[in-house]
């Protein structure tokens, strides 16, 4: 399912917002513009890769605050910052906090479009990754406990005979379990299986690590 890519623009200056919306619309993007950070944060975002063009200096909630709130809410938007006066420490902060890019106004259209395209690409890559991981995770979850045990032993490199001895059951049973789990996981060889489990394990660790922040 291809979700449409959307570019959100958030800038408190209505004239700048109008100009940016025009430019991005003319270049063929789907644009949604907001002058109020509250409105933007409250509104329901459609699924699909999206990027946010965000003004830094806004009254009440500034750009940094918006970035922080999005992060806390677990949103996965690629952010391109726009600022009237950028300093190096400030731009480093935003990028460290996960921003895609930091540009100063008046912004060159070519630069802005390149940044947005990169941001959208990153967003859609992340989305694809996520979907893939979800699929893998589902497959793993579909295994019975016995099949899980057999899987661990298989990727450890044990022969069917040895696994049977370890688990106290017949070699034939092991063969059946093995066949089923290979089918469920959608792999043809042990190497593929091992790679897949490793990837799952690594992503799980990353997820845990990020959740702890």
């Amino acid at each position: 399912m291809t979700n449409e890519q959307i570019v959100y623009v958030l800038d408190d200056d209505p004239e700048i917002l109008k100009a940016l919306t025009r430019l991005l619309g003319a270049e063929g993007f789907q644009v949604r513009g907001f002058t109020s950070a509250h409105e933007f944060l409250a509104h329901e975002r459609s699924p699909g890769p999206a990027c946010l063009v965000l003004d830094l200096a806004m009254p009440e909630i500034d750009g940094l605050e918006v970035q922080e709130r999005l992060r806390r809410g677990g949103a996965d938007l690629s952010i391109v910052f726009l600022s009237g006066h950028g300093s190096i420490p400030l731009s480093v902060r935003t990028v460290k906090a996960g921003a895609e890019d930091f540009l100063t106004k008046p912004v060159n259209a070519a630069e802005l479009l390149a940044a947005i395209r990169a941001a959208l690409r990153r967003a859609s890559d992340r989305q694809a990754e996520r979907e893939e991981w979800l699929a893998l995770h589902q497959r793993l979850a579909s295994l019975t406990p016995r099949e899980r045990e057999v899987l661990d032993h298989v990727i450890a490199g044990r022969l069917n005979k040895q696994i049977a001895a370890d688990l106290g059951t017949g070699e034939q049973n092991i063969k059946v379990h093995r066949g089923r789990l290979m089918r469920k996981m959608g792999v043809r060889s042990v190497v593929e299986l091992a790679r897949m489990t490793e990837q799952l394990r690594r992503t799980l660790k990353e997820r845990d690590g990020r959740a702890q922040e």
């Binding site: 408190d12 200056d13 209505p14 004239e15 700048i16 109008k18 100009a19 940016l20 025009r22 430019l23 619309g25 003319a26 270049e27 002058t35 200096a57 806004m58 009254p59 009237g84 006066h85 106004k105 008046p106 912004v107 060159n108 259209a109």
Partner: protein
């Protein structure tokens, strides 16, 4: 050590120290001839102290006569230095008086060395001792030498010259300099002249002791020196603060201009993108061009106003009635305020004195403050948008208070900073520029405000503009 030695020793040391300091000052600032005169004066003071000491300690008539002869040399150079000083620092009207004094004193010096003994006595007859505070001081006796008159008339002319200089300085408004320098030079010269007349014409029997009087001069010189230093420090501070306000101005200008530039650029690039299509939407492109023209006009307007401020350099000051200025500005934005439903209450003092100010700049300041206030109340409910303007006079000048019951500001001091903005895209002179203009008139502007409880801007303008 006798008190004579201590006193004269101190005099010599103080004089030579002053000479050293002023020499260093002159080396740093060659174009100020007064410093060189100060050096000469200090050296002369030192010379007088030394030779007078020798006179007072002379044991034989020959010693005394020699010392007296030598005594005239630093006296001569001192007179030259005094004339030079008065000429450069006080600028008297009759400079010929000074030159004549120098001429006479030079003749006296010549006569001094040509005469058999010294300028004072035709033939000194003997040496006498006077006891003062337990120390013997030598003095001579003899028939007074009429050539002495040269020197004494020279002293008189010198006095007149210094007085003239002091009066001129006073009239020019340099009151402090007139007092400190002129008096500081006048008193010792007067006392010394009187003393020399009394002693040498035989009215009083005492040795001549000018050196202690020179302490006065040393004090005057010291004062003049420190005054010069203080003035230099103040000038540097003023330049630095002018630098700061100039950079504030340009920072504020850059920030204000950035917005229309960004609008123009992005709109233009949008139009370019639209025109690249096979079927460009020309109505859209028209709308874009209209927005571009608008933004450009705003930028040009800002630059025009800033240029007006800069072209004047020093704001042209003329008597300005603040009440009239307020009414004028309200005339300009009155209809807009009506449309926005803003009510204004005025309490303008009836007998408000006029201030020395630049009308255009003050108009801009008031325009900016009133527009800000109107915008602050824009979010209030339609019947609750209130502004008030009050003027009254105080001891030094005029006070203006502009109050609104709008949204207020959390930190009322920050609103005057160059990068502070709470309004999107609004082009105006900016409160930083308001502050610069008010300061350049010698006034003050500050705000009191709290979030949600309105803002009051206080403006104070002095009646006399500060002398630059």
């Amino acid at each position: 050590m006798s008190w004579i030695t201590m006193l004269y020793g101190t005099m010599a040391v103080v004089a030579s120290t002053l000479a050293g300091i002023y020499l260093a000052a002159w080396v740093a600032q060659r174009d100020d001839g007064a410093y060189l005169m100060f050096v000469l004066l200090a050296v002369s003071m030192c010379g007088v102290a030394v030779t007078e000491f020798l006179m007072l300690q002379a044991q034989t008539l020959e010693e005394y006569v020699l010392a007296t002869r030598l005594w005239h040399v630093p006296l001569w150079s001192g007179v030259c230095a005094l004339v030079g000083l008065a000429h450069w620092r006080l600028r008297p009207r009759f400079s010929w008086v000074g030159w004549l004094a120098v001429a006479l004193r030079t003749l006296a010096l010549v006569a001094n060395f040509l005469s058999e003994s010294s300028l004072h006595y035709v033939v000194p007859t003997g040496i006498d001792h006077v006891w003062l505070f337990g120390e013997p001081l030598s003095m001579a006796t003899g028939a007074p030498n009429p050539w002495m008159l040269l020197g004494q008339v020279s002293n008189l002319l010198l006095l007149v010259f210094i007085i003239d200089g002091g009066v001129c300085a006073w009239r020019r408004g340099e009151r402090q300099r007139a007092l400190s320098l002129a008096l500081g030079l006048l008193i010792p010269v007067a006392l010394g002249a009187i003393q020399s007349v009394l002693v040498y014409w035989g009215f009083v029997q005492m040795p001549v002791m000018i050196a202690p009087l020179l302490l006065f001069m040393a004090v005057a010189m010291g004062y003049e020196l420190s005054d010069g230093l203080l003035r230099a420090a103040r000038a540097e501070r003023e330049v630095r603060s002018m630098d700061a306000s100039l950079s504030e101005l340009s920072a504020s200008l850059a920030h204000e201009l950035n917005q229309p530039l960004a609008v123009i650029l992005t709109n233009a690039e949008a139009a370019q993108s639209l025109l690249r299509r096979t079927q460009p939407d020309l109505t859209e492109v028209s709308a874009i061009l209209a927005d571009i023209v608008d933004a450009d006009r705003r930028a040009a307007d800002l630059i025009r106003r800033i240029r007006a401020l800069h072209d004047r350099g020093e704001p042209e000051r003329e008597p300005l009635s603040v009440n009239d200025a307020i009414k004028r500005v309200l005339g300009l934005i009155g209809s807009e305020l009506d449309e926005q439903g803003v009510t204004i209450s005025l309490s303008l003092a009836a007998d408000l004195p006029s201030v020395q100010a630049d009308g255009i700049l003050i108009d801009q300041v008031l325009l900016n403050l009133l527009s800000n206030a109107a915008e602050a109340v824009a979010d209030n409910s339609p019947h609750d948008r209130r502004l008030s303007v009050t003027t009254f006079s105080h001891s030094n000048g005029v006070s203006i208070e502009i109050a609104d019951n709008g949204c207020g500001a959390a930190d009322p001091r920050r609103i005057f900073n160059a990068f502070h903005s709470t309004k999107p895209g609004r082009l105006g002179m900016g409160l930083a520029i308001v502050r610069s203009v008010v300061k350049s008139h010698g006034g003050r502007v500050w705000a009191e405000s709290a979030t949600g409880r309105g803002t009051t801007i206080y403006l104070s303008l002095p009646r006399d503009c500060p002398s630059s």
